[in-house]
Symmetry: C2
Subunit: 463 residues, 2 copies
Amino acid sequence: MSADWFRRRFLPGGPVSAPRPPRPRASPVPYRRPRFLRGSGSSTSTADASRRPDSRPRPVRSPVRGRALPWNAGYAEIINAEKSEFNEDQAACGKLCIRRCEFGVEEDQEWLTLCPEEVLTGHYWALFDGHGGPAAAILAANTLHSCLRRQLEAVVDGMMTTQPPMHLSGCCVCPSDPQFVEEKGIRTEDLVIGALESAFQECDEVIGRELEASGQVGGCTALVAVSLQGKLYVANAGDSRAILVRRDEVRPLSSEFTPETERQRIQQLAFVYPELLAGEFTRLEFPRRLKGDDLGQKVLFRDHHMSGWSYKCVEKSDLKYPLIHGQGKQARLLGTLAVSRGLGDHQLRVLDTNIQLKPFLLSVPQVTVLDVDQLEPEERDVVVMATDGLWDVLSNEQVAWLVRSFLSDNREDPHRFSELAQMLIHRTQGKDDSPTQEGQVSYDDVSVFVIPLHNQDQRRSSH
Amino acid sequence: MSADWFRRRFLPGGPVSAPRPPRPRASPVPYRRPRFLRGSGSSTSTADASRRPDSRPRPVRSPVRGRALPWNAGYAEIINAEKSEFNEDQAACGKLCIRRCEFGVEEDQEWLTLCPEEVLTGHYWALFDGHGGPAAAILAANTLHSCLRRQLEAVVDGMMTTQPPMHLSGCCVCPSDPQFVEEKGIRTEDLVIGALESAFQECDEVIGRELEASGQVGGCTALVAVSLQGKLYVANAGDSRAILVRRDEVRPLSSEFTPETERQRIQQLAFVYPELLAGEFTRLEFPRRLKGDDLGQKVLFRDHHMSGWSYKCVEKSDLKYPLIHGQGKQARLLGTLAVSRGLGDHQLRVLDTNIQLKPFLLSVPQVTVLDVDQLEPEERDVVVMATDGLWDVLSNEQVAWLVRSFLSDNREDPHRFSELAQMLIHRTQGKDDSPTQEGQVSYDDVSVFVIPLHNQDQRRSSH
């Protein structure tokens, strides 16, 4: 995305784009459940709009026994309580084969790379939580791994050395280049982080094009775990969450991106481009929406540069609807969206206005790196990845307690991680009287991966 | 600062400002050392431009014995090795008396507030590290505490309750206001943080006006510690540093703001406003400045949205000077400035160009809060605040080691914190063969406060 493009796309008064020739509309993205669920039961929705919420059967679904996911990971999901017709969560996982892409090869030698060698193998698990329809999440589940593979292949030669070279071609323009790279502290894992960041952006562009072509709308969050060279990379854009659970440790591997957690970034953009609010919203944050009676009073507020609070004398323009409004799960960006990062939403506008959400959304993930080799994982060490439906009703500590007690009772069962994922979903349905449950029920779509870490370093292959 | 102002001030093609009537030039800000050093030796510079560097006497200065600083804090400073004629560091400290400012009082009752009651007492310690001349740091030392007092007085009524009220007047427009404030998690300390943030901005504006009026230039970093209601607030804008040293703990109380630590914020601004670089700089980061020979090669780079690295094919525009260049202490913003936050620099431009530094600089500090009451400080627990000259040659751990060993040998001396500050300065001069020294010498100005925490909660008064 260039600055020019940003202005043309989002700011009034920018160069008017020439009318596009009408192009044939592509067929809509077909609804589906993750491929690895095939054969595990009715795969289409059983929704019936005439039933009242919670009356439709909500089976917990997992891959059929015998279909092993990478690292023998467990997976389970449940559809929401008729919030939407379809399950808007999607998932994907698989092996990631990175081949060498020969840079600097002359064009007449291109035939040499027709059968590129596989240089690196990894694994991939991803959860997408859709909104405004299932299409964006389905596209992301179909596409993101390909974007990531392409981005990794573009840098894989740099990843095969102990420190990435300044030039990918291996030629050295300046003799002190290794020293510059050393001083900047650039490591192999920075190339994977960069590839994940670029892959999310590329996937976002694909989704934008595909949805426009098929006349569909929607967006999704994305939470991805990738194993490569003995490390696990967790990339997150949205409000899903991954945690590491060990015997004596619960470690968050991602943070949530919501209008509240990204308040300063969002207010800052509205500060430099007030046009984006079209005079309909106030950039300032107040504890509640102000009313006429507040005029002239000194009320609590904060602006983009503040992490603390202060008081301001209320003027008429402060009575507008706030750019970010509400607390916790109710917090909304422009009264519309509950997340501030993710893929898609290119067409999303505030109801009855021309105000676009997209300029405030980021498709870039935050990436954390877990050094699995260094961790020396024990048998019951797992990573739990889940969409927000799980974390709305269970805390990290509650999930860790459930994981530990389940795995200590089920040491041998080869399907234990799948069973564990199903058990976690059941615990979100208020069907159990365990002390950690406290009767909380999730009416949202919920999807869970449980990824065991033990012995995975032995399985890693890189030739 | 409004968005309109930002555009008028910094972007080409904005409304041209009408020529200002010439106004009488104010007299330049006079050079001085901190007031609390009076009587402690020759207070003006002993610089002699004809001497070679390091040949001028560099005495370590401290307040005269018997002049107690707040909380019996120690202070010491040394001038640089003829890097500049004047010591560009400045310091200030003192009692902070917050009086009530009666909001909502009718104008004809204003006489009632002529002698406002003092409602809160705190203490204040501040270090300013100037660049481009001593004027900005002197103005900051003269001004910031007044800005802070004013900002605190504007919210002090909100600070005197357990939770800040939605309305400062005490009137309640909406019965559920306390609930909104509760849900937002707004605490009394957020008002102090907000006041510090606003005070830094106000002081920055004062410095801009004063320097323009007197025809002077320059800027400074600012590191401030404020004690209020049993808490110590540390606000930092620049590359000075404060740490807490306890028997078993060394805790950083600030982080440094440099072109490197704020790379993404700075690149982001150049992305949305490329005009700010006037076609002279490239926004992208490369491990070194690229040369003609790099053209067409794939080299390591990162852009504003990336925390990882990737490779890009070098184009001609990439050969420009980088927006952020160099590593560590050599890192520069626009080839000019080593810090990315601070006060002043309103007139600073890149040499021989019209490119301004100010839009990339932030005057907002980051504030951390130390709950001194809860800490139950022991006798040797101190906060060490110092300008970067100290931290360039001593690590946090080395300073902690020096502090602990000095204080365990000097338990009774009432001047021990002053002696300790002097000792720390001596250790930056390579005059000692202690194992922690390693022969490193600082040629910079160095200023140090050592603030003891023990028993200070008893001295705190708030009526």
